[in-house]
């Protein structure tokens, strides 16, 4: 062999050694240096987490009548990974499936199904085709449902076809699932009513936005939820979401490269959500909703005929609040209302926006807690408290009640320009004499330094007794009710006025200059004035404030009810509370909730009693504004009427007057237990619209029929107090009225609500759904009372 051959053999040997070392080095790197990360990649590669959803708890009224429960439905789900493996992306299969299924009562097309299972990440969503799947690609997508109780022959046949011919529908599974249900009540007045829709709120699929925001804030409530989770979106469903939702279980399953489930690695059982028992009483709630309907459709049109006040014969909206004097909310009613089940099927953004855009007549608004209105004369209770507490009047001080009161060039008239002889504070409340109160506002304005206030709101020495008393009664900030998004209302003092001006002066001044409004128009002048002088706390402002009018005051019906609760109970301010207790699915009590005391109004018991007595005069004195409604009423109701004047501008920029009709009350007058407040915006006088509506609510609470007391027809069966005990959740799934304590035997129930093994289907999501489907459908029928996750029927 020659030298060059030897040399090259040597090179070849070096190359071979190099190659072997390279492989060994790379192996060392992959297996030993970064082995851990590959091992975890391998684990996630071969396992998938499948969610076993917890069943959401019910929401029941104080007697255990479900306001929201669950019904079982057969939910048709499509495993997108299986569908998309087909040659035509499953188009043929979807076309085969579409005519058999429906969702929310609507027929589905193959295109609808295709839309529902596409992943949101990969499509540009444009209305009207704005449906897509936000959840995990490995989670079967629910696309349609069959009500299990359906007697519809067509539906039954379709369900049978899908399940019997599973081979033709690879990747399609049918599961028994719990679906939110709103039991309707019907007594002929409000047919098919779903009660307390705004307070209950609604549920819907979690949005990516919610998850992202929760993650940003580190909020554990939503951050760890799967993309297909259903969460409370509003009302109690939102506020108590965590308790109601429970804790999802999950199963870690082993899958192969095709996604076929090979076995279960670990299982965490779901913990079903607690049932929420409310203070709210279904019968009182129903009465309140019916009273609002009657106020809008009967009392307001009548008032329009008979009274000179008011421009609105057909008010669209209204709110009613019923509270106990220890802060429990018995009813929170709103008009108009709606059926929350419209949200069940995942309302599309387009529809939802339309729902919301209804503005004034939007049924979604919880006006009782979020509607802000001028309180009108119901406010005189607060002004009277300020007068008495600050020694501006005594209980026996007489003051005049002229037809009008002039501040500078502004004339403030008495209601209907009436007048009366000199009156005490009590008399002024009974007759609702505005001119009795005006001078106190003006004098206070003078005493507080008139305009002597800086643009930053500094006003040394100003006592501002009226705004201060308003805040003491809890106005100007949220009540803390267990609902999301309540409004704070508005109490404007000198500092607040300056702050508002600072925040808005740009807009004011822009409106004054530009062609935003016609030159010389009222609005243009208003902006002009606000631009230069908006920071000034005017004499007129405070003068009007004393009678609950003007631009310095807005309250929510709930705030007013809370203030009247304090008045009725001797001065204790409560946080209004809807929830009474959380009861575990097995019937044991998880947590009871007591209304929180948030303060005490700075008014002596004697003075409060004086005002309460005056309010009894409102309903019983010959001069009382509500004597016509309550004078002969078998229950001693005390209250205050209010007619708040507001202005809107029509399209031509002209001012239109409206009246918000108020009645705020408590009963029985000498031993108050309940506070009822009704507001009907854009209607008429308080005594003509709201007061009769309040009376209708008392009818239901106490059991008054045609003006006679029939105690056993009352909401609480003749007892004049609401139930103290909780309803019993019996082991057979029924719920017992809280008449007596629950015996132990009653409450030891198996883990209800039940969950008919969704695992049976999920076990083999792709490989032939035939057997899996069979196993679900062959599941022995649930006992009738517990069918599904139990629309538990009220037992006695």
């Amino acid at each position: 062999m020659n030298d060059s051959s030897l040399r090259r053999l040597f090179v070849l040997r070096a190359l071979v050694i190099g190659l072997v070392l390279t492989l060994l080095g790379r192996l060392w790197f992959l297996q030993v240096v970064s082995g851990n990360s590959y091992a975890s990649a391998a684990t996630s590669n071969t396992t998938r987490v499948v969610i076993d959803p917890a069943t959401r708890g019910w929401i029941l009224d104080d007697e255990g009548v479900p306001l929201v429960d669950n019904v079982s439905a057969y939910v048709v789900s499509i495993d997108r990974t299986v569908i998309q493996k087909q040659k035509d992306d499953g188009r043929a299969e979807l076309a085969l499936l579409a005519p058999l299924v429906s969702s929310g009562g609507k027929k589905l097309t193959a295109q609808d199904l295709a839309d529902k299972i596409r992943l949101c990440d990969y499509v540009k969503i444009k209305p009207p085709r704005d449906v897509c799947w936000k959840g995990s690609p490995y989670q079967p997508v629910p696309v349609a449902e069959f009500a299990s109780a359906s007697t519809d022959q067509q539906q039954a046949t379709a369900l049978a076809v899908i399940t019997a011919h599973a081979v033709d529908f690879p990747g399609v599974s049918v599961q028994l699932k719990a679906v939110r249900d709103y039991p309707a009540t019907d007594d002929g007045v409000l047919p098919n009513t779903k009660l307390a829709a705004q307070a209950l709120g609604y549920t819907g699929p979690i949005t990516q936005d919610t998850i992202d925001k929760a993650k940003q804030k580190g909020d554990p409530l939503y951050a760890d939820l799967p993309g297909d989770a259903t969460i409370g979106q509003d009302g109690l469903e939102y506020y108590y979401d965590r308790m109601l939702r429970g804790q999802n279980g999950n199963r870690t399953v082993q899958v192969n490269a095709q996604g076929d489930v090979q076995g279960t690695v670990s299982t965490t059982a779901p913990r079903n959500g607690d049932h929420l028992v409310l203070n709210l009483d279904g019968k009182v709630q129903r009465a309140a909703e019916e009273a609002l309907l009657k106020a809008r459709t009967v009392y307001a049109p009548q008032a329009f005929q008979t009274a000179t006040k008011g421009t609105d014969p057909n008010p669209q909206t209204g709110a009613a609040v019923v509270m106990t004097i220890d802060g429990r909310v018995l009813a929170l009613a709103n008009a108009p209302s709606y059926d929350p089940s419209v949200f069940l099927d995942g309302i599309s953004q387009h529809d939802f926006d339309q729902f919301r855009a209804a503005g004034d007549s939007s049924p979604l608004l919880d006006r009782a807690a979020t509607g802000e209105y001028a309180p009108g004369s119901t406010w005189k209770v607060v002004t009277g408290s300020a007068l008495l507490s600050n020694g501006l009047v005594t209980q026996g001080t007489y003051k005049p009640c002229p037809p009008q009161f002039t501040v500078g060039n502004q004339i403030f008239k008495n209601f209907e320009s009436e007048s009366s002889p000199d009156v005490t504070l009590s008399g002024a409340l009974i007759e609702s004499c505005d001119t009795f109160f005006y001078p106190f506002g003006y004098d206070q304005w003078l005493a507080d330094g008139q305009y002597g206030q800086s643009k930053t709101g500094k006003s040394p020495g100003a006592k501002e007794v009226f705004p201060k008393m308003a805040r003491s009664f809890g106005f100007g900030k949220g009540t803390g009710i267990d609902l999301p998004g309540e409004s704070p209302g508005l109490i404007v003092d000198r500092a607040e006025r300056a702050a508002i001006w600072q925040a808005n002066k740009k807009d004011y001044c822009a409106g004054a200059k530009s062609g935003k409004h016609p030159a010389g128009s009222y609005l243009q002048k208003l902006d002009q004035e606000n631009c230069t002088d908006g920071w000034r706390y005017g004499a007129g402002d405070l003068t009007q404030f004393t009678i609950g009018q003007g631009s310095n005051i807005l309250v929510t019906p709930l705030q007013l009810a809370r203030a009247y609760v304090a008045l009725a109970n001797g001065g204790t301010l409560y946080q209004p509370t809807l929830a009474k207790a959380f009861v575990r699915p097995d019937g044991t009590v998880d947590k009871t909730i007591q209304p929180t005391v948030t303060g005490k109004v700075p008014v002596s018991g004697d003075n409060l009693a004086y005002i309460r007595q005056a309010l009894y005069g409102v309903t019983h004195d010959d001069h009382g504004t509500a004597k016509g409604v309550f004078g002969d009423y078998p229950i001693r109701v005390a209250g205050k009427t209010g007619t708040a004047e507001t202005q809107t501008f029509n399209d031509a920029g002209q001012e239109v007057d409206h009246s918000t009709s108020w009645f705020a009350s408590f009963a029985p007058a000498d031993d108050p237990k309940y506070v009822v407040v009704v507001a009907v915006p854009k209607s008429n006088q308080g005594a003509l619209v709201a007061a009769p509506a309040v009376r209708d609510i008392y009818n239901a609470i106490f059991g008054v029929k045609d003006g006679h007391l029939v105690p056993h027809t009352g909401a609480f069966n003749g007892s004049d107090s609401r139930p103290k005990l909780l309803p019993c959740f019996r082991s057979d799934g029924r719920i017992q009225k809280p008449e007596r304590g629950c015996s132990k035997a009653d409450t030891i129930a198996p883990q209800a609500p039940l969950q008919p093994a969704p695992s049976a289907v999920l076990e083999s999501p792709s490989a032939g759904t035939g057997t899996a489907l069979g196993s679900v459908l062959d599941e022995p029928a649930l006992p009738p009372d517990r069918r599904g996750t139990g629309s538990g029927r009220w037992a006695s």
């Binding site: 062999m1 060059s4 053999l9």
Partner: protein, 410 residues
Amino acid sequence: MTDWTAGEGMAPRHSPIRLGRAGRPSLASRALHRDSPLRRIDYVLAVAVLVLCVLGTTLVYYATKNKELAIGADPRYFLKRNVLNIGIGLGLAVISAFIDYRALRAYAPIVYIVSVIGLMAVLVIGVTINGAHSWIRLPGGFEQQPSEYAKVALVIGSAMILSERRDGERAPRSSDVLLVLGFAAIPLGLIMLQPDFGTTMVFVFTILGMLAVSGVSSKWVAGLVAAGVLAGTLILTTGVLAPYQKARLTSFTQGDTKATTQVARTTLYNVNQAKTAIGNGGLTGQGLGHGTQTNSGFVPEQQTDFIFTTAGEELGFVGSALLVLLLGTILWRGLRIAQRAEDMFGVVLAAGIVTWFAFQMFVNIGMTLGIMPVTGLPLPFISYGGSSMMANMMAIGLLQNVNLRTRTTP
């Protein structure tokens, strides 16, 4: 170092030949005679190959067991076939080892022509598997891949041409080089038509290795390397390769985000799964039959091209490094045989086989480790596949054949 493998303790190294009763050397003594072929077998090489075959069979079994069970087939199907392949291969190895050296030269043209005919036949009656039109289906479920046998023909034929020298010549003439290139060009062209890029590259590197070792001038070596680089560039940049091939070859240099075509994404996915499986093995592996990636079928072509991932996952670094070292042992013994060969034919032949195996081993394992492009090359003695096993065994037989012609004393 030379003969410790030859059954130590059985006979003293330089003992005189014992005579039998009939006065003729007994069978045993003849077998143990220092010039006996049995004493000249490279046992290290033989043992390495046998251990690899056992290892390979084990891995093929565990890589296929679950898939076969899943489709209701015999879980030992691939195991049995692999053992059969090894049996036939061993027979071919023995024949290749003991066939007369000169006869081999005489038969070389025949081997060459047969393989060229096979390669042409493949283009006419072959079947396509994984995009390459490389197989001829024979009755009884056997598939033959003529390009594997063509490798054997190539090394024998080229070694023959390069070792035919006139007196006084120290290196092949340029005409010999051209002859070799022309000789290789025909099967090479046919293989490229299939198209089988991996085997093409095996051919190219093997010829290059053989030319270099045969002592051709450095200009030729440099020129051929340059030509190879140029050709490779042209192949990748022009339309010679099918798009899927190009994507497969280039995808390993791209990140996940850059992989634009479906093929590139699929290839990257495959490579990532392979790396995950191997990385999952860690130092000592998941244990035979316990690799989750292997059992769940995440790695494609696991009993053939990606067999190394099973070793990586189930045997860990310890097992897969042993596998690499065993393959390295074959290369080491092959180089040793080349160096000690008595004539240029043996040198070039052994060097060609070493180059072939080295290239194939590095590309195959490197592909599963993500450092080489994905090509359909089997891992010698480990991957399931009859033709590959036969050709590899014949090559081992040829190495032994060269060794047998080598005097044992250095």
